[in-house]
Assembly symmetry: C2
């Protein structure tokens, strides 16, 4: 990796190899700005997500291929949550000394090959084209800023403010596997040899937690949920195109907090059923009681599932679309009027109480 | 600053106060993505610039108001260099512990008030609206990622590839003041008390360099050129609208290197005149001979002037537009055919030689 320009040239070549699905692209990487054509009747969506080493991930446990995947996945998830179709991406990297080198350096070469393999594989899957970015040195930690641009028909973007009393609440997949995976990683568990390469490790790996048989699979599955989340791109886009969701958000801060955002923006309250929430099986790896498991599932965050509000009359169609996308879809409660103020309630064994909202706050004392 | 959400709320309120020049904006800060309306016949431009503490700036010497200004300025400069009109911006911040706090913290409050005062003042000047971003904690250093979206009429974006033999080379302003300012700052000079506030300093300031009278003003002016560059937004946009530039770039890596980018992309060579290059007066603060001064002026970088290639037949109009924008404009050479390959040449006292290209490379050994 002899220079910044050569590094950019390598990325540019990989970007150029991508399927040129983006018919509106005028020019991508290689000028002061990227350019694309607009079209009346369409709207552009843009989102950006920041991933900071030792805050949002650790190189000690994140396989670089999965890190490249996740950098794009989190932003794709935001476009999906708007009901949009992702089209273009930009990527910014602040690169610390041990991940760049004047002379050819095996560790940094493998790291970036793996990182971009993960990034571009996901980009190609969803026909998203990398059209720009920026690179700088960093004194000691990797910082990644991921930008994704999507499009939708004018007026079809699904905001957070359209939920109304009588609507039902739905969520894709299950909740909590990512939070369980993070707990396992922080306790020293590591992804299996099949996906990790020793060359990129910044520190010596802790030995894997003692596990056996099926538990090992569940542990790997939990870590994968955290490190390589699958954004619900196709399903989100369909909901937007068919105007089937009145409000939508992706579950990044935890179901309780993300549902609270919808309630606040829509001026409504939500009641969720304790027994209906799809708690991930992996939760049992890190919690003992069902109450603790439920708690972690609704507050853990980084699930990147779609949480949306829809008219229950459309439930058959919704379930059919989800099945088409090979996604589990669960109705977890309903929207009621906000009286006296927007809140998220929990119904359990016939009683209704406020659901404590604990989500991830970057500024909270850890 | 009690939480991440409150912090974002404060920024959101400031963004909302901005002039709503952006008639196409559907929704800005506060959902999974921002949304704007497209229009047939128009093109979108996007650029992103990363600023890393202790690599691209030091909090020790950068007044936060000027840092906020510069974060936006560098991206506005890219849109200007495409001949576009800036419309929207997104801002990403990785914030270290001493710049955030659970309890009210005077230092961090003043820092962010000043930073956003600088950012929003420049945004309002150019009618750019902040529509999104992301915030994360950082272990110890501030990282800023600045995204600007601009627009132009379809086909009017000024790329780097349109220069042709017979064209003339022009540059706005003067070159090298920023490089001189950076040298002074690294040697311990500091901006005057009028613009700095003691509360935000991370470390004790070094005492100012011993200076007197006019030299003090020149030192302040050089540091200002580096810390608070003025992007040539209006002039760049006019060149684009009137199709007066065949190729354009902003001078961020140094004239020699940026001109080389144009030559390579256009498949031409450039000859610049030693005596014509507008070397900033501030250069004499840090260099002794005219040769050293010239060298720093063409390789120093971060001038954020516009370097463009145009038909010399339009020179009268170009000079008039520059005067309208209160900008100095200088013709510094001409484009010739690339024989045998694209190169940047220097003409001095009747002889022509290759101009050594040294620009800033983030990956070079410092």
């Amino acid at each position: 990796m002899p220079s910044e320009f050569d590094f950019i040239q390598t990325i540019r070549q990989q970007a150029a190899k991508q399927a040129q699905s983006a018919g509106d692209l005028v020019f991508g990487i290689g000028d002061d700005a990227a350019i694309w054509r607009e079209q009346t009747g369409r709207e552009t969506l843009i989102t950006v997500d920041l991933l900071v080493e030792d805050v949002d991930f650790k190189l000690d446990y994140a396989p670089p291929r999965w890190l490249g995947h996740k950098a794009l996945a989190v932003s794709l998830s935001d476009i999906a949550a708007m009901g949009g179709k992702p089209k273009f991406a930009l990527l910014t990297l602040a690169i610390p000394p041990d991940l760049k080198s004047q002379i050819s350096n095996l560790k940094s070469e493998i790291f970036w090959e793996e990182f971009f393999a993960g990034y571009f594989t996901l980009a190609e899957k969803h026909r998203v084209q990398l059209i720009g970015g920026d690179i700088s040195s960093a004194p000691d930690r990797l910082t990644i800023d991921s930008i994704v641009i999507g499009q939708c028909q004018a007026g079809r973007a699904v905001r957070r403010n359209g939920a109304k009393a009588g609507d039902a609440i739905y969520v894709t997949g299950s909740l909590g596997a990512s939070a369980a995976g993070l707990k396992l990683l922080l306790n020293g568990a590591r992804v299996g040899d099949a996906v990790r390469s020793p060359a990129f490790r910044r520190q010596t790996f802790a030995s894997e937690s003692p596990t056996e048989g099926g538990t090992t699979n569940a542990i790997q599955s939990a870590m994968r949920a955290h490190l390589k989340p699958e954004p619900r791109v196709e399903f989100g886009q369909r909901l937007g195109e068919l105007s089937l969701a009145n409000a939508m958000i992706d579950v990044s801060d935890g179901l309780a907090q993300d549902l609270a955002h919808i309630c606040e923006d829509s001026g409504v309250s939500a009641v969720i059923d304790f027994d209906a929430v799809p708690v991930a099986a992996e939760i049992s790896l890190v919690t003992v009681t069902p109450d603790d498991g439920f708690d972690l599932a609704v507050s853990g965050g980084e699930d990147f599932e779609l949480l949306f509000i829809a008219d229950p009359k459309n439930e058959v169609a919704l379930m059919a679309f989800a099945a088409d996308c090979q996604l589990r879809l669960t109705r977890i409660g309903e929207i009621i009027s906000a009286d006296p103020s927007p809140s998220v309630l929990l119904r359990r064994a016939g009683t209704v109480m406020a659901l404590p909202i604990r989500g991830f706050d970057h500024f909270a004392t850890q």
